[in-house]
Symmetry: C2
Subunit: 192 residues, 2 copies
Amino acid sequence: MQDEDIHAGPARPPGFRRTVPPGDTLERDVCGHCGFVDYRNPKVIVGSVVRAAGLVLLCRRAIEPRRGFWTLPAGYLELGETAEDGARREAREEANADIRLRGLLAVYSIPRIGQVQLIYRAALAGGVAPGPESLEVALLRPDEIPWRDLAFPSVAWALRQDAEVEAGRASGPFGNPDGETGDRFAPGASGL
Amino acid sequence: MQDEDIHAGPARPPGFRRTVPPGDTLERDVCGHCGFVDYRNPKVIVGSVVRAAGLVLLCRRAIEPRRGFWTLPAGYLELGETAEDGARREAREEANADIRLRGLLAVYSIPRIGQVQLIYRAALAGGVAPGPESLEVALLRPDEIPWRDLAFPSVAWALRQDAEVEAGRASGPFGNPDGETGDRFAPGASGL
C-alpha cells in the first residue's frame, strides 16, 4: 500500500524550468518551449479489510517493497475507475477474491510519499487464492494476525480500526491515528 | 471542483511507446530509451461544506471552467500535504476562511475526468472574503442556495448530503448519489 514512489520519474525533463505558472501559487516544472505544466499530485490507494465469518483476509507480498510481508488487498486507483471499483479490482487481482463493500473504513494521508489511502470494509463472497503479486493469501483469526510481519503502518491502522468497528466501539470513518504520519515502519512505535 | 483535466499533458512524448510494463497489467506510455513509465492516475480534490450559524459558505468562481457559478471551497490536493490540510488550505485560499473540520462528509468518484473528491464538514471560525479565484463569497441560508447556478454536480450532492446530516437524517460518509457519475451538469436530472 505504500510502494516507493515509482511514479516520481526523472527530476526535471530537459527544457523545463521551475516556475510558478500564471494563476498558480506553487512552483511547477514548466516546459520552456510549449508552456506545458508538469503537475505532480498525490496518488490514490484503494483497498479493503475483507472479512468472512470472523476471519480477515491478508496477502503476503510477492513484490518489493516489503516482499514476504503481509498486507491488505490494495493498490493504485486507475484512471477511469471509481474508488469502489478499484477496491474490488485489487481484491480480485491480489487474492482472486470477490468482495461486497460495506462502507468506508478510513482515509489515510501519507504525505511523505504523496499518497491518500481509501480503505473500505468488505465481506468476502466465495474463496481466495493468491494472485501474481501475492506469495500466499490467508483468512486469519484476529489472534493469528502477524502484527510484526505487516508490510506497512497503515495495514496495522486499518486492522485495528476495523476491529473497533466489529466490536461496536466505533463507527468511523477514521483518519490517521493521532500523530501518525506513516513515515516509517516502526511496529514498536505503533504499539504493536 | 471538476476542472478540465489540465494535467493530462501531451498525448504521448516522442520516443515513448504504449506497452504493458513488466509486472503490470495495463498499457502505459514507456520511454524507449530509459524505460521510464509515465504512470497517470486519478487526482484528489479536497474541499468542505463550511457552516456558520446555520449558513453555508459558497464561492463564485473567478476562473474557468464555470466562471461565475457557485462552488464549495475545494481544489487539488498538493504533494506533501494531508487531505485535511488541503481542505483547510483551499478554504483559506478561496474564501480567506479559517475552518475547523468536523469529519468526512463524502468521497465522490468522477471517473471521466479522473477525480476522487474528499469533502469534509467544517465550521467557520471568523469571517470570509474572496480570494483570487473567487469573484465573491457568501454565507447563505439554505433557502438562498442558488441550485441552478452551481458550478458542478458534486457541489449539489455535497450540499444536499450535508443538509441530511444537519437534519439528523443520515450520518455519512456518502458516496456518489445512486447512479450519478458527475459526467455532465444536468440540474434537472439531479432533481434540483
